[in-house]
């Protein structure tokens, strides 16, 4: 359909103030936090499920592609309109609809910002556990789309462990309810299917989330090491000792330097690795557990341990960790982040290989990872204006994915497949595996209306 006509129709359907279509506006929605760029034909900012449904129905009836978009912070090209069409931006559907303390549930619209929900719950003594480093900007809809993880997911599980159901707008504009407040619901677990579907199956317009009471006590420690192996070994040793801390995060030297420059937290710039270990739970026994961990750290030659004295110090440590990606942006203009995951015990070995790949392609690589989960985040640093460098980056990134797969791991721990990792799917899935996923896609979205070109490689060709 002609763009002008599309805009006119949409204006009529949901009101002019919610439709954007000028060249400037379109340039504003051609990117997310990945390296991919591609323009939608127009953008809508609905404020209700009804509006979303109307737009999707209109698009489907006219063969127009549709993409859901939250804050556009994903790292795999998930919210890029590869084939034009309408970008449905959900940031204005940002109400917390219901707080059900007795049942420990909260019902939200998809545009609620993750951290805003947490701040709201904190007033009632509650917590929503998943904490992607981007939580102060990301939306819950986007978290659900990507099945996001974060430091605390080591103990509490990723987003899918906290989504119990919700409301979906299907490919033809029909609105359905999936799951519910109960832990198990009759019929298929469609929430399980939907979370992590990266906008390829439908749009969630309402989500029922699990919340938990705030832990009675929290202890945050920063353990500084002179070698990255010792840091890695400490992680394995802690888990082997039967302890599951709330977080086990690691930063390497390059990351430490960048974070220190951005946040001035007094980090030692010559340290090889920093582990951020947080414990939460009852105050009883917390000291004992802390000491066990400190002993393990000492056995692995920890150079220094800093324990946060209060919430302010804790916040500072986490601000540094959560700003790590951004801080790395100081070193070179661009980075490509991989989020391959390997079995925890393979972490040191994998890391050595990643470092070797960096050397081979002559590219600096900074490492920040959810060490407890074996989830790597090698950040390959470069300047996209240098074509040769860009080529090497892609080659190096592919090699890293392959290493993760060879180690018995997987190509994405939390950032999703999107476009950037679509060619890596075959490293993990057989063609039968992919075919069964395609069947799911077709069942939800028979005409390929939603987010074409993402996640499933074969579909990309036939779409």
């Amino acid at each position: 359909m002609e763009k002008e006509k599309m805009v006119k129709e949409l204006n009529r359907l949901i009101g002019k103030e919610s439709v954007l279509g000028t060249d400037m506006q379109i340039q504003l929605y051609e990117y997310d936090a990945s390296l991919i760029r591609s323009k939608p034909d127009c953008i809508v900012l609905p404020t209700s499920t009804e509006q979303v449904s109307k737009v999707v129905k209109f698009a489907h009836d006219n063969g127009i592609r549709v993409i859901a978009r939250g804050a556009g912070t994903n790292l795999s090209g998930g919210s890029i309109s590869l084939q034009g069409g309408i970008a449905i931006v959900l940031t204005r559907m940002n109400n917390i609809l219901e707080l059900d303390i007795e049942n420990q549930r909260v019902v939200v619209q998809p545009g609620v910002i993750t951290l805003n929900l947490k701040n709201f719950l904190a007033k009632h003594g509650y917590l929503y556990q998943p904490d992607p480093a981007s939580e102060k900007a990301s939306t819950l809809g986007g978290n659900i789309g990507e099945n996001s993880g974060g430091p605390h997911c080591l103990k509490y599980g990723v987003t899918s462990n906290h989504v119990l159901g919700g409301e979906l707008v299907l490919y033809n504009g029909e609105v359905v309810q999936i799951g519910g407040k109960a832990l198990d619901n009759p019929g298929y677990d469609l929430s399980g299917v939907f979370v992590g579907s990266e906008g390829t199956l439908g749009i969630m317009t309402k989500a029922i989330l699990r919340i938990m009471p705030k832990a009675e006590a929290v202890k945050t420690m920063m353990c500084i090491f002179n070698s990255i192996e010792e840091g890695g070994d400490t992680v394995s040793a802690i888990i082997a000792d039967g302890i599951i801390p709330a977080t086990l995060e690691m930063m390497d030297n390059l990351t430490i330097k960048a974070v220190e420059e951005a946040y001035n937290m007094g980090l030692p710039k010559d340290a090889a690795a920093i582990l951020i270990i947080e414990l939460d739970g009852l105050s009883d026994g917390m000291e004992r557990l802390t000491n066990r961990i400190l002993d393990i750290c000492k056995k692995h030659h920890v150079r220094e341990i800093r324990v946060a004295k209060d919430q302010a110090e804790r916040d500072k440590i986490w601000a540094g960790r959560k700003g790590a990606f951004g801080a790395v942006g100081r070193l070179r203009p661009n980075y490509m982040v991989n989020d391959g995951t390997v079995p925890r015990t393979k972490l040191p070995e994998t890391l050595a290989k990643v470092i070797a790949i960096g050397k081979k392609y002559n590219l600096p690589i900074a490492n920040v990872f959810h060490a407890g989960d074996g989830n790597l985040h090698p950040l390959i640093l470069f300047d996209e204006r240098d074509a040769d460098e860009l080529k090497r980056v892609h080659a190096a990134a592919n090699e890293i994915l392959k290493v993760c797969a060879d180690m018995g791991g997987t190509i994405s721990g939390e950032h999703g497949i999107g476009v950037e990792k679509i060619h890596g799917m075959q490293l993990i899935c057989s063609s039968q595996d992919l075919a069964s996923m395609r069947n799911v896609k077709v069942a939800f979205d028979p005409d390929g209306t939603y987010n074409p070109g993402k996640v499933l490689p074969e579909l990309q060709k036939t779409a």
């Binding site: 804050a71 931006v89 942006g329």
Partner: protein, 430 residues
């Protein structure tokens, strides 16, 4: 015709460090209300890139985006982990936009006046003009002051502050230091009480205060509105008067002024030189010198608090809360000093408000031109203030004072004061 370069090379290179992570969204007061990408700092950095690479043409729409969805509060700059200096980009785009499309006439007249030395527009006439401009019948009928309630804009000073204060104020007791006092336009025209308090307190601390009579507007409102050429006149004039080796500090009572003097002057001069404007080495050096000397008055007082004479107690307690002006908290990372001063006053019961560091939504002319967005931001602020049940709001920026006092619940009779005004009262036992 080829469009002029929007940015100098230095400024332009900085764009490429935006990795589009979007974390700036969490700190942008405008984004929180508008919730579209246009309002995000990330969006405007990306548009800046498109403009500078020639993929986007300057248009009225672009102009509007850079004016209507940005307060130039600097929150994105101070929170950008990658070190992208968005404000430099936005003000550059505003400059080119204004060169192409001109400025709103009302602003232009005001800025031309501010840009000239105040002397020339001599008190009464400017006072009358200002009232007519913002408060006159004709204006009220034809235009409005946006989110500002015209009736609640404070009266213009009877006499300009610069006419009330001697050029040199000798210290009481032992002379300990010598400072230059840069009082902003707001103190000069609207809040003479702040100026009197600053001079009085410093005097009592043993500080000689020189208040150059010929000082002019710091130039920031003009610069932020895109008229770099006009602001440069002010910058030159102020450098001549204030960039002096022989003084201990240049104290300011306005967050925006001090931020400008400290951070914008050196950058702007360098930028303009790289874009081919006529800027001398001496001017650059003078700007560096001034940047080193400039201090918010609360910082100066806090550094030398042992010079303060004893404060008298009179048994009365008043509940006070503090609002961080953007150009102090974001631009200069100053949060502790004004609070220290307040907490040290015996009669003050200090309460912290939620979101003390959040923008008040005023942004100078932003509240006049983009009233709806501004009003929403201010409402959050005012709700937070009232939640503390404080009787006095202290803040270090007359701009914030104007905006906030305009929106406070009138039935609560709250007062908005500069911390130094409270200090002055305590020193004199009131």
């Amino acid at each position: 015709m080829k469009e002029k370069a929007v940015f100098s090379e230095n400024t332009k290179e900085n764009i490429y460090h935006c990795i589009k992570c979007g974390l700036c969204m969490a700190h942008c007061p405008v984004y929180k209300e508008v919730l579209s990408e246009e309002a995000t700092p990330r969006g405007k950095v990306q548009l800046s890139r498109q403009l500078s690479e020639g993929n986007l043409k300057m248009s009225k729409e672009v102009k509007n985006a850079f004016f209507s969805t940005c307060l130039l509060c600097g929150a994105c700059v101070s929170n950008c982990p990658s070190g992208v200096h968005g404000s430099n980009l936005y003000s550059g785009v505003r400059w080119r936009a204004v060169q192409k499309y001109g400025m709103d006439w009302k602003k232009k007249v005001m800025f031309q006046l501010l840009a000239k030395k105040w002397r020339m527009s001599k008190s009464a006439s400017l006072g009358k003009w200002a009232r007519k401009m913002f408060g006159g019948k004709w204006i009220e009928s034809r235009m409005n002051a946006g989110a500002l309630n015209v009736a609640r804009i404070p009266k213009v000073n009877e006499k300009e502050f610069s006419d009330m204060v001697p050029e040199v104020t000798k210290p009481e007791g032992k002379a300990r230091a010598k400072v230059l006092y840069f009082h902003g336009c707001a103190t000069n025209y609207l809040y003479a009480g702040i100026g009197t308090a600053v001079v009085d307190v410093l005097k009592k601390m043993g500080v000689e205060v020189i208040t150059p009579r010929e000082q002019t507007c710091c130039g920031m409102p003009i610069f932020m509105s895109g008229d770099r050429e006009a602001s440069i006149q002010n910058i030159r004039e102020n450098l001549r008067l204030f960039a002096r080796e022989d003084i201990d500090a240049v104290v300011c009572d306005c967050a925006t002024c001090s931020d400008g003097l400290k951070k914008e002057y050196p950058h702007l001069l360098l930028d303009l030189r790289q874009l081919g404007e006529d800027v001398t080495d001496e001017e650059l050096k003078a700007a560096e010198l001034l940047a080193k000397k400039v201090k918010d008055v609360t910082v100066f007082i806090d550094e030398h608090k042992d010079w303060l004479p004893a404060m008298k107690e009179n048994g009365k307690k008043v509940r006070v809360t503090y609002h961080d002006p953007c150009h102090l908290v974001q631009g200069q990372k100053i949060t502790a000093q004004p609070r220290n001063i307040l907490k040290a006053i015996p009669g003050v019961e200090y309460v912290e408000m939620p979101g003390a560091g959040d923008c008040c939504g005023g942004g100078g002319s932003f509240q006049v031109e983009h009233a709806e967005t501004s009003r929403k931001i201010t409402k959050r602020k005012v709700d937070n203030i009232h939640s503390t049940k404080a009787q006095i709001l202290a803040t270090c920026c007359p701009g914030c004072t104007l905006t906030i006092s305009n929106h406070l619940d009138p039935s609560l009779n709250m007062r908005v004061m500069h911390p130094v005004q409270l200090l002055q009262m305590a020193l004199s036992g009131k």
